[in-house]
Symmetry: C2
Amino acid sequence: MESNVLSLVSDHTSPGSRRTTIDIPVPARPLREAYFVSDSTGITAETLGSALLANFPGVHFRRHTIPFVDTPEGARNVVHDLHEAIRSGADPIVFATVKSPEIIGELAASGAVVIDLLGGHLRELEAALGSTASEQLGQYHGVGDIERYFARMRAVEYAIEHDDGQSMRALDIADVIIIAPSRCGKTPTTMYLALQYGLLVANYPLTDDDFPSDGLPATVAPYANRCFGLTTTPLRLSQVRHERRPSSTYASLAQCTLELRRAEDLYRRNRVPFLNSSTKSVEEMSAVIMQSMRLRS
Amino acid sequence: MESNVLSLVSDHTSPGSRRTTIDIPVPARPLREAYFVSDSTGITAETLGSALLANFPGVHFRRHTIPFVDTPEGARNVVHDLHEAIRSGADPIVFATVKSPEIIGELAASGAVVIDLLGGHLRELEAALGSTASEQLGQYHGVGDIERYFARMRAVEYAIEHDDGQSMRALDIADVIIIAPSRCGKTPTTMYLALQYGLLVANYPLTDDDFPSDGLPATVAPYANRCFGLTTTPLRLSQVRHERRPSSTYASLAQCTLELRRAEDLYRRNRVPFLNSSTKSVEEMSAVIMQSMRLRS
């Protein structure tokens, strides 16, 4: 195992101070080069490859994504990089989402470890379906899928128009209305649902004005069955709000605690399903909302 | 193979018309049930599973996504669904991104075909790295990854503020400025780059006002090296614009042809890299932009 050197420097700037450096050998985590190689965008190779690598916390990985490797020439460029890496003493690992068996073969012949995220599963599917995989079709992310493109474009524009209660023009066609106090994660979750699933998602901020009443705000009350609430922890909310307005009442722990308690009471009283966003990623929140609102086809 | 029935109906509403129905047996594509089962959001299982299924265009798949299957009880619920499907004569195929070997085992024991998108690759990685995969770590999409969450939130808010040239407040910190005529796909691409990669992306519409001049619009000219252009085909642009304003000059083929030609001239003259969005998905455009602007770490 290689070792790094940790330098302890004691540096007093007052006159007469001495500067001391002590070198202590520290065992470093081994470094491995991870390549995500795809004949399309590389997103699946990155996501699945990273999920696999996360199981080896003792190893440090340097990551490289190489998308659109769909020609022999593209493959040769990757092989060139792999040879360079091998020559410099690295032991590269390739995660490949590449359909062409020829390209996979070239990558494997480089001497790098190649983890083929598609090929083996394609053979399993052929066995299960009793038919041969088509070579032409099977593009990732459906190139030219106009309907899906239109749906996403409409959904993103709807989300922008209906972000943060800015417009209530077309609330009646919303698939979901996300309600929450400021900075609980409404906006990124809204955008993710729009982009990933083409859903029409509005979001509405709960403010102090909404709390003398026991019911939902008048604007969203007619659509109570499409509302979904977000909450978080007071500490996390205070952190996030401090980012926007440092040392404000708005960001104080007391104010955050109060707003979250009121919001959760409101959700419970009105039977609005809700979710604590503090330990969840945007993807996870979106998946929970889809499931809870039965929005999966 | 089952067969559907195609009904040919001849129905003249004029008095004295006769209504004729002819039933012709049509061979149907075989139907298979595809389950995407995940111990997390199900997004990777859906994406990779769908990419694999796309290689079998002769088969019709009914898709079901079941996220958050991470307990024996959750597994039993899925097995129950699989048994129901098998009993009704379907031959279900399960695409699983589930870490627990016990849960995979239960799914496989149901009698369904299980394609394990993680387990085999984890064994390959263990062999390549010479160490054992951790059971605890390796959560999908990094639960509680606060830094990434902040970055995405900031990026989405930046994208909303700087959508369609609405604000030019903080153009100097943009990672990319996407420029294009109206309806070429600026907004969804901007949002995707913000959400997926946490990049600060502004977008600016090219209008007739921008074309007497040979240079870039004054607002974005200082940041020419961060500009990326979009174009499309006149027919596609006309289609998309007709959706928004049917039968307008704005949507006419002549106007679309003119605007696209001027935009492409502008990109070329100012050495702005550009991309034709007409045959590309939002994911693909984003990947090309990342690569072209060298935004990958």
